[in-house]
C-alpha cells in the first residue's frame, strides 16, 4: 500500500513558554523549539505499522521552509521510506484551503492508496484533511483511532463522545485524520536522526506540483487572522480551605453535583 502522511512542524507546547510578540499578532518565536505536530507523529507511526503488515511505502510530506526539514528527518528516522518538502514563497500566508490546494497538487503527482493527516495541528483548525479529501473527491473519515486493512477497503474506528466506539468501512483511496492514542509512536533518538542525515529530501515548488500560484498564499486566503491573544484569567476556580478530609468530601460532593459520579 502506498501511504502518504501530511505532517507539520509546530512549536512544541510542552517545551516552550508561549508568549505573544510585541505587535500582538503572533507568538514570540525567538527562543521557540519545534517538533512534529503530535497527531501527525501518530499518523506516521500508524502508516509504518500498516506498511509493515501489508507491505508498501510510506511518504511523509510537509509544506514549509528549510527549517521544516528537521521533522522530515525525524520521520525518516522513524522508518518512513521517503520524505518530500514542498516549499515556495507563493505558499506563505495560505489559509486552510490554500494548504489543501497545495497538498492536492502533490497528491495528484503520485499514486497514493491512503492519505493520513493528524487530526489537527497544535495551532491549526482541523480543516485540511477534510478539504483535501473533498478536492480529491476521496472518501474521508476523521478522528480515526483504529485502522484495519481489508480487501480493497479499510475498517476504521473512532470514539464517540461518551466513550462509545463506531466502526466504519471506507473505500480506498481515502483520506483519514488520525487521533492521538491510535498507537504508541516509536522513539527516535539522535542516533536515528544521524543515520538518515545524508538521505536526500527533494524540495518541490508550486510549478513542480502544478499548483496555480494565484490559488494559494496570502492573496488567495479567504480566512484571515485578525487577532491573537491570551485570554484574561477569569474567576472560575473555587479554593477549598478545609482540612484534607473536609476537602476530599467537598470535592466528591462537587463532582457528584456536576454529574461526574454515577
Amino acid at each position: 500500500m502506498e501511504i502518504l502522511v501530511c505532517a507539520r512542524r509546530v512549536p512544541d507546547t510542552s517545551e516552550n513558554e508561549i508568549e505573544l510578540n510585541a505587535a500582538g499578532n503572533d507568538l514570540e518565536r525567538d527562543e521557540l523549539v519545534y517538533s512534529v505536530n503530535e497527531p501527525d507523529n501518530y499518523a506516521v507511526e500508524e502508516a509504518l505499522q500498516i506498511r509493515d503488515r501489508v507491505g508498501g511505502n510510506v511518504t511523509v510530506v510537509t509544506i514549509g521552509g528549510e527549517d521544516d526539514e528537521e521533522i522530515l528527518r525525524r520521520e525518516l528516522a522513524m522508518g518512513a521510506n521517503q520524505a518530500v518538502l514542498i516549499s515556495d514563497d507563493a505558499f506563505s500566508g495560505s489559509d486552510g484551503k490554500g494548504i489543501a490546494t497545495t497538498l492536492k497538487g502533490f497528491v495528484q503527482k503520485g499514486h497514493y492508496d491512503l492519505i493520513l493527516t493528524g487530526v489537527q495541528a497544535d495551532d491549526g483548525a482541523a480543516q485540511v484533511g477534510g478539504m483535501l479529501a473533498a478536492m480529491l473527491d476521496y472518501p474521508f473519515a476523521s478522528l480515526v483511532n483504529s485502522i484495519s486493512v481489508e480487501d480493497g477497503k479499510l475498517k476504521v474506528g473512532r470514539e464517540i463522545e461518551g466513550g462509545n466506539r463506531e466502526m466504519n468501512e471506507i473505500d480506498l483511496p481515502c483520506v483519514l485524520s488520525i487521533q492521538t492514542g491510535i498507537n504508541e509512536p516509536r522513539y527516535v533518538g539522535m542516533r536515528g536522526i544521524r543515520q538518515v542525515a545524508s538521505v536526500p529530501i527533494p524540495t518541490l515548488g508550486a510549478s513542480d506540483i502544478g499548483v496555480d500560484e494565484a490559488a494559494v498564499g496570502e492573496a488567495a486566503a479567504k480566512v484571515k487572522r485578525v487577532d491573537y491573544f491570551v485570554p484574561a484569567l477569569s474567576k472560575g476556580a473555587e479554593m477549598l480551605h478545609g482540612s484534607r478530609e473536609e476537602n476530599a468530601d467537598k470535592v466528591l460532593e462537587l463532582v457528584a453535583a456536576k454529574g461526574g459520579l454515577k
Binding site: 510542552s14 517545551e15 516552550n16 523549539v33 509512536p185 516509536r186 527516535v188 533518538g189 539522535m190 542516533r191
Partner: protein, 706 residues
Amino acid sequence: MVGNYSPAQITDWLVPGRNLFLTIHVLGVACFVYIVAKRLVPLIRAQRDFRLDHPLTRLAKVFKFWLGQWKHPRYRFAGTLHIVIFAGFILLALRAFSVLAVGTEHFALPGLNGRVGHLYDIITDYAATVVFLCMVVATLRRLVLRPARYAVPAKYGKDHTADAVFLLNLIAILMVADSLFAASKAAGHAQQGQPVESLAVLSLPWLLQIAIGSMSLATLWILNVTAYLVHELAFYFLLCYRPFGIQFHVETSLFSIYFAKLERGTLKPVRWGVPDEHLDQVKSFGVKTFEDFTWKHMLDFYSCADCGRCADNCPANAVGRPLAPRFITIKARDYAFQHYPVLGKSNNSKPLIGTIYSEDEIWSCTTCGACEEECPLLIEYIDKIVDLRRGMIDDGNVPQSLQKPLKALESRGNPYGKMEKKKADWAKAPEFQKTCGVKILDKKNAADTLYFVDSITSYDDRMQSIGRSTAKILDHIGENFGILGAAEKDSGHEVRRFGEEMLFMALRDHNTDAIKASGVQRIVTADPHAYNALKHDYKDVPPVEHISQVIAREVKAGNIEFNPVGNKDSVYTYHDPCYLGRHNQIYDEPRSVLDAIPGLKRVEMKRSRDRSFCCGGGGLMLFYEPKEEQRMGVLRVRMAAEAGANVIVTACPFCMVNIEDAIKVAGLEGKMSAVDLTELVDQNIVRQGRPETSETPKVETANFGG
C-alpha cells in the same frame, strides 16, 4: 568380582575394580570437558569485554571475595553455613583427588605422607563431617524453614527447592561415601593387625568405624569397594550435573570474581573497543539478542548461585515492580541452556524483550546498585540493564512517558522542557540575592570553583532551595564560585542510564566545552547524580566534589560552626542517596556534618550505608510510570519512622522529591519531615556579623515535636 579375589594386603582392595574405576574416571572427565566446552560456545559468540587489565587488583579481589567469602556474612546464618562448606570443600579438594587416584594405583599426594599426611587426614575427617552436617542443616533449612527469598513467584517459573535439596543430598552422599571408605579401610587394618592410623575422634569416619568395626573382613572389603564406587560416581555425577544448574558456581565463581568489574559508578561502553567517534558505524546498540551480552555477562549468568540476596535487597522487587535481579540472571541462564544445549544444535537468536524479559521489567530498575552490593559473586546488573535499555532505545521501543522528557533534553537540555534562559532564575530570588550573589561564568566573570547545579535544582521550585543553600554555604566559606547558567545543560546521568547514549554524549560534550571555557579549577555539586556523571561519565573535566565532602572538610577545619539544633524533640536520620553512598562510598562525611551540629539527635535506619534503600530513583525515573503496588519512598519513610526518627536528612534533590511525596502518601505529614543536608547546614550555620538568612522555613524541622 570381589568374591573371587582375596587380597593379601588391604591396600590392594581396590585392585579388582581398577578397570571399572579407570573407565568411570575417563568417562567422567570426558563428559565434564565436553559439557564445559558446550557451555563456552555462547561466550565465544558473545560481545567483547576487556577484563584482563590490573591482574594484581583482580587477584586481590579473588582473595577477598572468593577465598575470603567477604560478602557472605551479610546474611549471617546462610553466610556462615556457606563459609564453613566452602572451607570444607577447599580442605577436601586434595583428598577427593587422592581418593580418586587411589582407585587406579597406589597413590599418595607428594608431601602428604607421614605425619603431615596424617594431620591432613584428621583435618579432612572433620571437614567431611562438618560439610555433611552443613548439608543436613541446609536441607532442613530449605525444607522446613523455607526462607522467603528462595521462593519463585509463578511468573518466573517453577520452584527450585527440589533441585537445591537434590544437590545438597548428593554432596552429603559424597561425604558419607568418603567417610565410609576411610572407615572400612581403617576397620580392615585393625582386624588384620596392621598398623592403623587413627581416625579423628567423633568425626563421621570415626563413628562409622565404630559401627562397622566388628563386621567380617569380607563385608568390610565389599563396603570399602562400594564406598569407593559410590564416591566416584557421586563425584562425577556432581561434576557433570553442576553445569546444568545453580552449582556451576563451584567452577565458575573463581573466574567471575577475577573478571569482575573494578570501578564503581561507571557504565560499560556501548561496545568495548569502539571509541565514541566510531559509534556511528556500530550497526546495533545495546543488547537485543542473547549474543549481544558480553562474555563476562554470560559468565555471570552461569555463576549465579540462586541465593536470592539481590532480589531480597532490590527496591523494585520490594514494591512489586515486575523486576527481580535474580530472575534477570536465571531467565538468561535458562535461555542459554535451552538455546545452546549440550546435545543438539544451537538455535538462532531471538529478541530477548518480549520473550524472556518484558519492557516494564527493564525500565523498572532505578540503578541503585543494591543487588550488586549484595551479590557474593560480584555479578553485575546495572550494565546489563543499561545495555538492554540501549537496545530498546535503538529499536524505538520507549514508553511514551519517557519520550517527552528525552525529546525535551534533546531540544532544551533539560527534561522539563524549560527555557534555557531561566536556568539561573533560582539565584534571582530577591531575599536570597540580597545576601548572596551568584556569578554566572562567562568571558567577563571567572571563578575558581564551578557550582554545577543540574536540571532539577535549577528548575524545580522546591529544589531551588537546595541550590540557594549550597550557594550560601560556598559563599560562607569564602569560595570564589560561579555557575554556568544557561550554558549548563543536564548532566545526562540518567539519560545514559536509561540507555540514550548518543543524547548523553551530546549533553556531555556540550557541558565539557562549557566547563573548560569557564576556566574553573574544580567543580562542586549538591546533586549526587551530577556528581557521579562528572566523576565517572565525563572525561577531562576538573576534579569534582559533592557538597557534603566540602562541608565536612570545612567543619573539620573549623571554618563552619553550628548553632545548636532548634527543636530538641527532633530525631534525625540520614538517608544515603544511592549515587553518593553505594556508587561513590561517601557515607561518613554527611554523618560527620550532622554530628557536628550541637544537640542533634541522630539514629540510623536498619537499612543504611551500603544497604541503603532507594527512595524511588532520580532523573528520568521521575517521569516513568512504573507498575508497582506501592512507592519505594513510602517504604523508606516507614523505615525512618521505625528507627524512631522524625526528620529524614538526605543529600540529593531526587531523594527529596521522592521522600517528601512519600511522607504525604504515607499520611505522615506533620509527623515526619525531610530536609537536605545543605538546607540543614544553612539553617544552623553560625554567621558572625551577618544576619540570619536561612530561607527554608524553620517549621520544616522544628515545629512538629514528635
